[in-house]
Amino acid sequence: MAIETQPERAEPVGRGPEVAGAGRPWWLRPGVVTGLVGAVIGYFLGHWLGNLLGGDYARSALADTNDVAIVLGYAFGVIGWLAGLGVFNDLFGLMLGRPLPEEPRLLGREEPGVGKYFRYTLDHKVVGIQYLYGMIAYFLTGGLFAMAIRSELLSPTYHLIGPEQYLMVVGEHGTMMMMMMSSVILGPFGQYFGPLLIGSKRVAFPRLEALGFWLTPAAYVILLSAVLMGGFPTGWTGYEPLATQATQGEDAYFFAFGLMGISMILAGFNMIVTVITYRAPGMRWSRLPMFVWSMFTVSFLQVLAVPVLVGACFMALADRTFQTAFFANQLGGSSFLYEDLFWFFGHPEVYILALPGFGVISEVVSVFCRKPLFGYKVAAAGMLGVGILSFFVWQHHLFDSGINPDMRPLFMLTTELISIPTGFIYLVGMGTFWKARIKFSIPMLFALAFYFNFLLGGISGVFLSDVPADVTEHGSFFVMAHFHYTIMGGLIFAFMAGIYYWLPKMTGIKLNERLGKIHFWTMFIFFNSTFLPLFALGMAGMPRRVFEYARNLQTLNDWVSISAFLLGGSILIFLINFVMSMLFWREPEVGNPWRARSLEWQLSSPPPPENFKRVPVILSDPYEYGVPGALPVAELNPPLGVIAGAYAPASGGVEG
């Protein structure tokens, strides 16, 4: 793959207009405003159409409980939103034979102002920043729902919110976190740094990438709109036949999850093609940064597993609207089918959440240990191994559900096998710490916390994989503690490490260090004090998603709730730090503050609009810290038209 995909141009050749609709007033240019107008028009159009089509057999059109109208309203609303954003403009332009507008950044020109963040912009760095703000907003929303759950659980009987509202809050929290946070690292850091780390000027499919982002606010709003219809009672799993029995909030759940699924597929597809075809000359597979490996693996999981979810959501919506019976046992369908489809997606999904964390942590650890990554091949094999095995474990969610009993030892084996490649990640981390020069920067603190949290999360997963022990633990707070340790303690801690590590690169501004340290320590302490007791609660027999529990568990639950509020306070410290640093303090950090070797840190902060003036030639591994005579990671200004093999030394100067 040593072919230059971007022809070097002596001078820009103007083709079409640079920004669509540049001559119009700002509120008429394609962007968020026109998108919102399109969404509203689309919603009402779809709603009207749904009442026209399904008014006679769905519940009651007048009471606005017609599922057909609501689903079509969402569908047309999304199309209107995308049309208003201008997603289809280039497509129609091509059909009409008009020249495509040129991306200004590829001509080396930066778009001034913040307007580009509110438009369908094709720059992967803009999309990365859009994702960053979006994901923080989604995370905070999900977190507020968690605060509501913990407030209700202060007392063993219901006292604050009724049972219906409680389930609404539980469902919103779970779904918001599980579906939106699947892109929390792949979105901001994957889109932003994926091309930079492989030495590319662009991603393979910038339109798909931008579309992937702009679907997330739509999914977010649709998921939240369930609140207006009383929420959905199924939690984040949406089990049938409860989902068919539920009221209209369930439509929002399935539609939003399916929509976010499409966003994940698009993002994954783009990432796979970008990594395979857009690597700079000399960027061999054996030099690919670990973060790119994790993005690459996650993208395969998304492209292969998420379509199953989209299919399941579609079938469930069909059951609810035009009265099919895929999942109705009494009518020849099967509720097991939904469980299988959901978890066939759902288990790769939890690795879609976990693997990006491994990637970020591997980058951070190598830089702050000032050592090469220990066992590079083992790390890559670990990621691929986890990714592949994750497709073969899904029935461990169904050990007690009445599946064929002889399936249980098999899925116990596959589930336990996955701890071998996961162990590789620990081997790599621990090997890198051996005789290192460890620096306690904030990203490194988060990385260490990641190893601690993910260790407890992973080991508790082994307890769950053991069928006899799982009979006690399944569906209890033990499971909840387990996956909060892996996702919150793993993914979100890695996300925070990524923010402190990469924000100076993305914005040229660094976050305040004192507040950052306070944020880290409060988050680490209160995270553990929130979730560690949940293991005990689950073992003591407290099922998930209940608003009533045994009175003798109240002390522990109150402890957890108070810790959870303090954990929320810690996130608030982060938010204050983020907002103040970005808007008011604006402490510049333009150089290479971590003295990192990897490619993105060799550029200015933020990187120039077209990333690299010339396509760089990669000379050595990104992790060669302390290696005598190691070449710099890349030649950023190679002679024109150079081809990899002819220029880079065969071995890159070091053993690969």
Binding site: P163, Y166, L167, T237, Y239, E240, P241, L242, Q245, N329, Q330, S335, R370, F374, G375, K377, V378, D400, G402, I403, N404, P405, R408, P409, M412, L413, E416, S419, I420, Y426, L427, M430, G431, F433, W434, K435, R437, I438, K439, F440, L448, L455, I459, F463, D466, V467, P468, A469, D470, V471, T472, H474, G475, M539, A540, G541, V546, E548, Y625, G626
Partner: protein, 328 residues
């Protein structure tokens, strides 16, 4: 895994360097041994889910063995990280790089061998524990392959080793228990005899529920139209709680009731008493014939009436007035 570390330290140390591997190994060995002894001798007898049935005992044993296996691993990893951040932290102002170690084949192979051995041990142990006590109390679906030894017959009497069959019927948001060997009467409290193999047939009338008798070590999903079989055998007298463990709608959190383990003779007299009372009330004749799955829609086809109270169909059966099923 400790052997991996020894290999690493003896690999290429400078003479002045302390022997990190040995230090780590000794600290790890002492701590892990202490933790395992505490877990086994102090914690194990109090571990969940207690010892009220053979399944619960088995699960308690499993959890204890897993804890004993996990503690050394957790201690090893944490100890290693603590040790390394104490010993190898950069002094302030130290801008030098660490040793350029790219990997160590012996360490990597030892790690892979170690984790594989642990995984295979856990798999074999888990499978043995699953098969031996009748499927470990988990729902085995309509055709169980691991069962408890006991004579199956259409009646049940104390003294022999008859298997007691109990149908567990979940519905929003109540549990009802049906005893087919006693004329198929229904009860809203689960009574079970001590030291008797019990075969649960778990099913649902509407959405998916999950029958969780925590102290008995039984958990089986109640799927509509599906018979899910689970086994247990209680070994101690006392009360226990049954909770729904699968989200089933708004009152899921309030879907629980209680059960009691009584002596076989007390159970027999209770059961035949309820049977004759429900016989006299005409409830038994109104019930649909016993089937492995429970389908109330057959009742009108049988020419019988479904009883509604204040417009709500009550009880699992839908067939009886407010005095039934028996709530002792």
């Amino acid at each position: 895994m400790s052997s991996a570390e020894i290999t690493a330290s003896t690999g290429g140390d400078a003479p002045a360097e302390p022997r990190h591997g040995w230090r780590l190994f000794i600290m790890w060995f002492v701590l892990a041994l202490a933790a395992d002894l505490v877990i086994w001798f102090v914690w194990y007898p109090h571990m969940p889910p207690g010892r009220m049935s053979d399944n619960a005992k088995g699960q308690q044993f499993d959890i204890a063995v897993l804890a004993v296996s996990a503690a050394p691993v957790i201690i090893f990893v944490l100890l290693y990280f603590i040790y390394s951040i104490v010993v190898w932290r950069a002094k302030p102002g130290d801008e030098s790089d660490g040793a350029p170690i790219h990997g160590n084949v012996k360490v990597q192979l030892a790690w892979i061998a170690g984790t594989t051995a642990i995984v295979l041990w856990l798999f074999i142990f888990g499978t043995v524990e699953l098969v031996a006590p009748g499927g470990a109390g988990g729902g085995e679906g309509p055709s169980p392959i691991w069962t408890l030894a006991g004579t199956k017959s259409s009646t049940w009497a104390p003294g022999g080793n008859d298997t007691l069959q109990v149908q567990v019927i979940g519905q929003q948001w109540v549990w009802t228990y049906r005893y087919p060997q006693f004329g198929g009467f229904e009860s809203s409290v689960l009574y079970l005899p001590e030291n008797t193999p019990v075969e649960f047939h778990v099913t649902s009338l509407d959405v998916i529920h999950s029958f969780w008798a925590y102290k008995l070590g039984v958990k089986a999903d109640a799927n509509p139209g599906v018979d899910n079989v689970a086994y247990t055998s209680a070994t101690a007298l006392g009360g226990f709680e049954v909770r729904c463990n699968e989200l089933c709608g708004i009152w899921h959190g309030a879907m629980y009731n209680s059960g009691y383990i009584v002596s076989p003779s007390a159970f027999a007299s209770w059961a035949s008493g309820v049977q004759s009372k429900e016989q006299a009330d005409g409830v038994l004749t109104a019930l649909p014939p016993y089937a492995l799955t429970y389908d109330p829609t057959v009742v009108p086809q049988l020419g019988k009436q479904i009883v509604t109270i204040d417009g709500i169909t009550g009880g699992a059966g839908y067939y009886y007035g407010p005095g039934n099923p028996v709530t002792p």
